[in-house]
């Protein structure tokens, strides 16, 4: 198949070094005098080699710099028979880091480097230009889970990105989880949530010098900012404070102020200071962000107070024989709500419109659709066919305990791609309901298929779970496993294919699709016995 692709990005060493020098010397960012290096590595017992899992260089301003090195595990932690985990922490004078950075720049293709503790196996490294990562505020920034204490202002990051991810490929998901848990037990680095950074080298330049805060007034119409520097910046430095309040994709508050190294105290009269406010402090001369945060004031507190007594009255639950099986002490709950200080009546209308729009979007993206109430029955079938048709190359899985060949004739047979295979699982419950044996039912299904189509372009297989083959199931799922997409798409159908649209049900997309795909494939393998085959064509 044709795959058009651009040339691989290759930032020059000069460019990366220039960025490094710019960041390391920027006094408004920080007066760094040392660097803490955390090196997480894997030791391969058989090959006697060490691989990089993740290394981070964090620049710091320490009161006194004492170079040191320590292992965070007393001895290497066994992960598998072949691999053990180690974590080393070092503190180095800041002047020593540039050479390491330069070496990484020049060794991106070498797959083996030595940053001071012996040979380290690495993947092909892609140099990444500087990126500013803001602190967590109203939103959690996932990348902060692998940075050190990025709580104030934010940090610049220069990175060497491992594009082979060899280390990642050798683990099963369970082994990877175990590995990352072991790391997390000694350091709050969450490589499970940010697994794309495994194998990388990260240089973190935290913004340490600037300090900013802001308040609003009683009427929520003003924003008063105070910005200062802990240490002196250069004489001719110039800075900008940029404040922007947003709601409903509109800018409702805005203000800027240019100031010198003496800091500033300024009040913006904005009209509406109650919204989420994006505050940025910029070093104008160097075009660097010194601080960025999305914050909002706490305007409302809601809580639920539950009151029960020491021995409250109980709810009693009996079985069919009148024996007490369970007791429960219900409690009385009351909601307490304080605020907001100022009400804007328009907000309710805006919120309702946004909700309606969201529901519409969910429908269009087939994330959530409702059927069976004021919606024609054949619309649901048409929508399911449309979902199946989304796959042009790849596989479709259909999982329905009451699925028959008739259902396939009404849905799958209306798809248009000849490159897609359908894997379908049904169950022996239909045979049971029809009071025939599973063998008889299978034979009937085959007779139906022999006369209902010429099956042109069809690649499909239907297997039946029954007796001890596999395990019984209840829910109905449609799964698209597209070759051109990384993640599968899975929908819960809410009802069997044979009753789509006939009663109220919901088709909604599932949040963790891969888990369901894994479960389907597992059951599929368990039904590989010929006794489970209902019908097969073009597979």
């Amino acid at each position: 198949m044709y795959r058009g692709k651009g040339i691989n990005e290759n930032i020059s060493t000069e460019y990366l070094l220039r960025e490094y020098d710019e960041l390391i010397s920027c006094k408004s960012l920080g007066d760094y005098n040392c660097c803490e290096v955390i090196s997480i590595f894997l030791w391969n017992k058989k090959q006697k080699s060490t691989s990089n899992i993740y290394t981070i260089f964090t620049f710091e301003e320490r009161i006194s710099v004492v170079e040191k090195s320590e292992n965070l595990f007393e001895k290497l932690e066994r992960i598998t028979d072949e691999y053990s985990l180690g974590i080393q922490r070092k503190v180095l004078e800041v002047s020593k880091i540039r050479d390491i950075f330069k070496m990484l720049c020049t060794s991106r293709e070498k797959q083996r480097i030595d940053i001071g503790d012996g040979d380290l196996q690495v993947g092909h490294l892609e140099g990444v230009t500087k990126v500013f990562i803001q602190q967590d505020s109203t939103r959690e920034i996932l990348l902060n889970k692998i940075l050190k204490n990025n709580f104030r202002n934010g940090s610049y990051v220069l990175e060497f990105f491992d594009i082979d991810k060899t280390v990642l490929k050798i683990w099963t998901p369970r082994e990877l989880e175990k590995l990352t848990e072991k790391i997390h037990s000694v350091l709050p680095i969450d490589l499970f949530s940010v697994s794309d950074r495994i194998g990388n080298f990260v240089f973190q330049f935290p913004s340490l010098n600037v300090s900013s805060s802001y308040l609003t007034n009683e009427t929520e119409r003003e924003l008063t900012y105070q910005v200062s520097f802990c240490k002196e910046c250069e004489k001719d430095d110039e800075f900008m404070l940029l404040s922007e309040g947003n709601t409903d994709d509109s800018v409702v508050a805005f203000g800027t102020k240019i100031f010198t190294r003496d800091g500033c105290k300024v009040t913006f009269t904005v009209g509406d200071a109650s919204r989420i406010c994006k505050t940025t402090v910029i070093d104008l001369k160097r075009q660097l962000i010194l601080s960025r945060q999305d914050t909002s004031f706490m305007r409302k507190i809601s809580t639920i107070m539950e009151i029960g007594s020491q021995y409250g009255e109980q709810r009693l639950i009996y079985d069919e024989n009148g024996s007490l099986v369970s007791t429960l002490e219900p409690v009385c709950a009351e909601d307490i709500c304080v605020g907001p200080p100022i009400c804007r009546m328009r907000d309710d209308y805006i919120r309702n419109r946004q909700y309606d729009r969201r529901v519409e979007e969910l429908y269009v993206r087939a994330e959530f659709r409702r059927y069976g109430r004021n919606v024609q029955a054949n619309k649901a079938v048409a929508d399911v066919i449309a979902l199946m048709n989304r796959v042009k190359i790849g596989k479709v899985y259909l999982w329905d305990p009451y699925l028959t060949v008739e259902d396939l004739l009404h849905t799958w047979y209306f798809t248009t791609s000849t490159n897609v295979k359908l894997y379908a699982i049904t169950s022996g419950e239909i045979a049971e309901k029809s009071k025939v044996s599973v063998h008889t039912w299978i034979s009937e299904q085959q007779k139906i298929m022999n006369k209902r189509s010429n099956h042109y372009g069809i690649h499909a297989e239907l297997r039946c779970q029954w007796a001890d083959y596999g395990y019984s199931f209840h829910d109905r799922f449609l799964m698209n496993v597209r070759k051109d997409e990384d993640r599968p798409q899975v929908w819960s159908l809410g009802t069997s294919i044979n009753s789509l649209g006939k009663k109220h049900h919901i088709i909604q997309s599932v949040e963790h699709p891969q888990m369901l795909v894994d479960a389907f494939e597992e059951l599929w393998e368990e039904l590989s016995d010929p006794e489970c085959l209902v019908w097969k064509k073009g597979m």
């Binding site: 803490e36 955390i38 710091e60 320490r62 009161i63 006194s64 050190k148 204490n149 709580f151 104030r152 350091l187 709050p188 680095i189 300090s211 805060s213 802990c230 007594s309 020491q310 021995y311 409250g312 009255e313 109980q314």
Partner: protein, 377 residues
């Protein structure tokens, strides 16, 4: 009715002791009682059967929160008469009932304060009797010295003869301001074992409530030097060890605080630290070590800023206490090492200035301590 009372009065005059002997205190519960009442009553029965004091007091306290016991004026008169006639005999009769529920029933609703105080001064071999006397006196809200005297006497006897009840008393009344006023007076009179139990039992992190006066510190300070020394000799080692453990445990789980930890027992803790820092060298070592811990902790990795803030304040708390002790006992002798260390501490405080947003007053006070001792300018 009048005539009936006169008849009873006459009967009382004839044979007080006979009448008292006929008194019975029983408890029962209505058939339509709600579950809570049934549970309390059941636990009372269990407690009476097994001698479980906690279950018995669960009932008593629940009852007191509700209707409380009514007192019968005739029975009150009977008790008063008996007390006037022979207080010791009455005390012995009541104590020999050997039942908390009876003590409660008879003492709380039928005995005046002066009578109960009188009982506490008598010798009986029933520690629960003293316990209940003290408990009733503590509940009565008069601030008079007589009542206080009774509590002190009863609790001291408890400490002497039943360490389990002594411990229970300490646990249950720890945060009671009326008891707090009397605590150290009692401690200055109990033996070594009782003092050790006290040191092992109290919650060293018991907070002083905002806007409420600190009672324990003035109560301790009001003791004579010899009494203070007597207490400290037996408790300071235990308290210091427990305090250090407590801080370590809190740091380990990042128990949240946003200001230095000043507890209700600050005086005891400070005095215990003082006992361990006998000279300038020891003070210097403690100060330098704690400053180093603070600095190192600020270089660690943290999951969340609130964890870092909590560690900061636990470390500052320890430093603060060391400073206060150094200043009070004149253990601070400035040299280059301490001065350098002081500068580091100053830099750490300034760097994490935003941590002090809820307690700027304490920050100013801490810096003042450092400046007053010329640790930094």
């Amino acid at each position: 009715m009048e005539e009936g009372n006169v008849i009873v009065e006459n009967e009382i005059k004839k044979d007080v002791w006979g009448a008292i002997n006929t008194l019975r205190f029983t408890s029962k519960i209505g058939e339509n009682a709600k579950r809570a009442d049934r549970m309390f009553f059941e636990h009372l029965q269990e407690g009476l059967k097994s001698g479980d004091i906690d279950k018995i007091y669960e009932f008593i306290e629940a009852y007191e929160r509700g209707r409380g016991l009514n007192s019968d004026p005739i029975v009150r008169k009977l008790f008063q008469k008996a007390y006037d006639e022979d207080a010791k005999r009455l005390c012995r009769i009541l104590a020999e009932k050997d039942s908390i529920i009876d003590y409660w029933g008879y003492l709380s609703s039928n005995c005046e304060t002066y009578m109960i105080v009188g009982f506490t001064k008598m010798d009986v071999e029933y520690p629960c009797f003293y316990y209940e006397c003290a408990r009733i006196l503590l509940k009565r809200l008069q601030e008079d010295l007589l009542r206080q005297e009774g509590i002190i006497t009863a609790v001291k006897k408890l400490a002497d003869i039943d360490v389990k009840l002594w411990k229970r008393w300490l646990q249950k009344n720890e945060s009671n301001p009326c008891w707090q006023k009397l605590l150290f007076t009692v401690l200055s009179q109990v033996d070594k074992k009782a003092l050790e139990i006290f040191a092992q039992t109290i919650h060293l992190d018991m907070t002083i409530q905002d806007h409420k006066p600190d009672i324990l510190s003035p109560a301790f300070e009001s003791l004579s030097d010899s009494s203070k020394n007597y207490i400290l000799v037996h408790v300071s080692g235990i308290i210091l060890d427990r305090w250090k453990d407590l801080i370590e445990k809190k740091k380990k789980v990042f128990a949240s605080i946003n200001k230095p930890l000043f507890t209700g027992y600050i005086n005891l803790i400070l005095n215990s630290i003082q006992k361990s820092l006998q000279d300038k060298e020891k003070w210097k070592t403690a100060f330098l070590k704690q400053a180093e811990i603070l600095e190192e902790d600020m270089y660690r990795w943290y999951d969340r800023e609130i964890n870092m803030e909590s560690i900061f304040f636990y470390d500052i708390t320890q430093l603060y206490y060391i400073l206060i002790v150094g200043q009070e006992c004149q253990l601070i002798e400035i040299d280059e090492v301490i001065s350098d260390c002081g500068q580091k501490v100053k830099m750490v405080i300034e760097r994490y200035d935003y941590f002090w947003r809820e307690c700027e007053g304490q920050k100013a006070d801490f810096e003042k301590h450092l400046r007053d001792n010329s640790i930094f300018k």
